[in-house]
């Protein structure tokens, strides 16, 4: 068995193990663990777009909301008819939840395709602002779409998300991104980031690579959104605004763009930081933003990027 597949298997076993013992783990720690897992999925998938492919997207929260809404709609409106009045067994609930997440991920991927095709011909700051614009448009549409709750959002979403689902999908996300990056596509992504003109000159279809990265990133953002919705049990459009996208981007940049391990560590650190700062609740956000500036000034290459010898591509 190749090594990445072995790691994936181990990770899935660990996630199964954790959920087996989850009754004995403190619920607060379990909640934090789920929060960490969701953020890892978001940050690793965004890293594929922003880090490896070098396309600065500011709309990740928008794709997350598409996934959250669609999967919640499946479990709220479609599942009761499938499961019957009794609510079904734990296994059938699990199967329904899996397909709900998949539906959320796929619809987010479609949204990613619709956004990506026109906007990926823009570069740099312009791409950033257009993806930001699309993210805000998605939010406003949900805000005005009454069948999905309008501005109030959806409530009473079944609490299907547990440590197993989050850790398992986290492992699958990391595995997929790692495999993709080490494939022909991955070379294409990195070539597109390093020098788009040179990549085109040797015959790479850079537009295709950008769109593939964008769609895969959106897919996992949708999955993360579904997990998040079935964890919080309530979602509203205001929870997926611009500041949520920023939160994810901060993880990617602190972890070091295009460095999956670093991004995972940053996602863990930045999810735990507000929890650790809870005793000083009043100053919590002030300290968070202050630390962000200090970290950026002290380690501009990313907190967990240790490739000192390698020269940065311009």
């Amino acid at each position: 068995m190749p090594r990445p597949h072995l790691y994936l298997l181990v990770a899935l076993l660990v996630s199964g193990g954790v959920s087996y013992f989850s009754d004995r783990i403190d619920p607060y720690h379990l909640d934090v663990l789920i929060g960490v897992g969701v953020n890892i999925i978001l940050a690793v998938s965004l890293n594929l777009v922003n880090g490896y492919t070098g396309q600065f997207s500011l709309g990740h929260a928008g794709f997350m909301s598409v996934g959250a809404y669609l999967s919640a709609a499946v479990t709220l409106f479609v599942a009761p008819q499938l499961l019957g009045a009794g609510g079904g067994t734990a296994l059938s609930q699990g199967v329904v939840f899996f397909f709900a997440l998949l539906a959320g991920g796929l619809s987010a991927a479609v949204a990613g395709l619709l956004v990506g095709v026109p906007s990926l011909r823009l570069k740099g700051d312009y791409l950033a602002i257009v993806t930001l614009g699309f993210g805000e448009i998605i939010r406003v549409i949900f805000q005005n779409f009454e069948p999905l709750g309008g501005a109030l959002g959806l409530n009473g979403i079944p609490a299907y998300t547990n440590a197993f689902w989050v850790l398992a999908f986290g492992a699958v996300t990391i595995f997929t991104v790692a495999c993709l990056v080490h494939s022909t596509y991955g070379r294409g992504f990195i070539a597109t980031k390093d020098d788009e003109i040179a990549a085109e000159a040797v015959g790479l279809n850079t537009t295709l690579y950008k769109i593939v990265a964008f769609v895969v990133g959106a897919f996992f953002a949708g999955i993360a959104g579904g997990l998040y919705g079935h964890f919080k049990q309530t979602i509203s459009p205001s929870g997926f605004d611009f500041s949520k996208s920023i939160e994810i981007i901060v993880m990617v940049i602190l972890g070091g763009m295009g460095n999956t391990v670093g991004v995972i560590l940053a996602a863990i650190l930045l999810t735990l930081l507000p929890e650790v700062l809870r005793p000083v609740a009043e100053y919590r956000m002030i300290l968070y933003s202050f630390l962000l500036i200090v970290l950026m000034l002290a380690r501009p290459q990313g907190l967990f990027n240790f490739h000192f010898g390698r020269k940065q591509a311009a």
Binding site: G124, Y126, F134, E136, M285
Partner: protein, 297 residues
């Protein structure tokens, strides 16, 4: 027709405020090539400084209003210089994204400090200027709208004078064109950049007070949405281009007011700003007044 003129007037006075904020984004982008996300919070600080000065000067007087305006502009100019000195200067020459994330950090810091010191609840903004309403040919013209348009015009003319007729303005344009060449001919880049931040932040402070006068409550997060829209306006006009920012702001204000005025679409007004931006960027990626630069290998 009367309704059209009324909406046009409302749009222009909203657009004037967007233009003032957009100028700060565009000038900083012009010299440093990065998006100063903290700009929208300087706008918020400006409104709060105006609020505190406004409590100590008599309401409904011209001199009181202009004193609050000048005070807020001075404080924010200083704030802008301090932010640049402490947070951005060390990162000059590092990748844009690092500066961008620092700017986001500064923005969050200002918002949270604002919530800590001012509290999160919105406060009513004092009526600084005399308030009357004129009716011209069926169109209601509030004195605050005249103040907004008058102050914006005055500031735009002053900016035009500074950028094109003074030594420091010439230096700004030189740095914007080519920083290395500018420093070779003896321009002190640090001074120019500090000056640019001071100028942009002062304009944002003026925008903050004018905004607060017309939407009379202020809170620490008030800058977020106008800031985003002003940034959209700057890109719309071609980022880095000063007349472009003014034009983009004005257009955005007018379009948003008209959309807001139509019953069917008013709840989509925040989305329309971005939709218009996306359409324009797809057909004219450098913005309305921006110049295309062909990339040379």
């Amino acid at each position: 027709m009367t309704e059209f003129l009324q909406q046009l007037l409302n749009g222009i006075s909203l657009g004037a405020i967007f233009a003032l904020i957009a100028l700060g984004y565009t000038m900083v982008y012009g010299v440093l090539r990065f998006i100063n996300f903290a700009h929208s919070d300087v706008f918020m600080v400006g409104a709060f400084v105006g609020y505190y000065i406004g409590r100590h000067v008599p309401e409904h007087t011209l001199w009181g209003g202009f004193l609050a305006l000048a005070g807020a502009m001075a404080v924010c100019a200083l704030l802008g210089v301090i932010i640049e000195r402490l947070a951005y200067r060390r990162l000059r020459g590092s990748p844009t994204l690092n500066v961008l994330i620092t700017a986001i950090g500064v923005s969050l810091l200002l918002e949270n400090l604002g919530q800590f010191f001012f509290g999160a609840t919105p406060r009513p903004f004092p009526e600084l200027f005399p308030v009357t309403t004129f009716i011209v040919g069926g169109v209601y013209v509030s004195s605050n709208q005249l103040v907004v348009i008058g102050v914006t015009l005055g500031l735009l003319l002053a900016l035009e004078f500074i950028v094109h007729r003074t030594k420091i303005g010439t230096a700004m344009r030189a740095v914007s064109l080519n920083p290395k060449a500018a420093s070779l001919v003896g321009i002190n880049i640090d001074v120019v950049i500090s000056f640019t931040f001071a100028l942009g932040s002062a304009l944002a402070a003026a925008g903050g007070i004018l905004y607060a006068l017309n939407y009379p409550s202020i809170d620490p997060l008030m800058g977020v949405l106008p800031g985003l829209k002003a940034f959209v306006a700057a890109v719309l006009g071609g980022i880095g281009n000063i007349p472009g920012a003014a034009l983009g702001g004005l257009l955005l204000g007018i379009v948003e007011t008209f959309v807001n005025g139509s019953a069917d679409w008013s709840s989509y007004k925040d989305a329309i700003a971005f939709a218009a931006l996306i359409i324009i960027l797809l057909f004219r990626p450098a913005g309305l007044l921006g110049r295309f630069t062909t990339e040379k290998v």
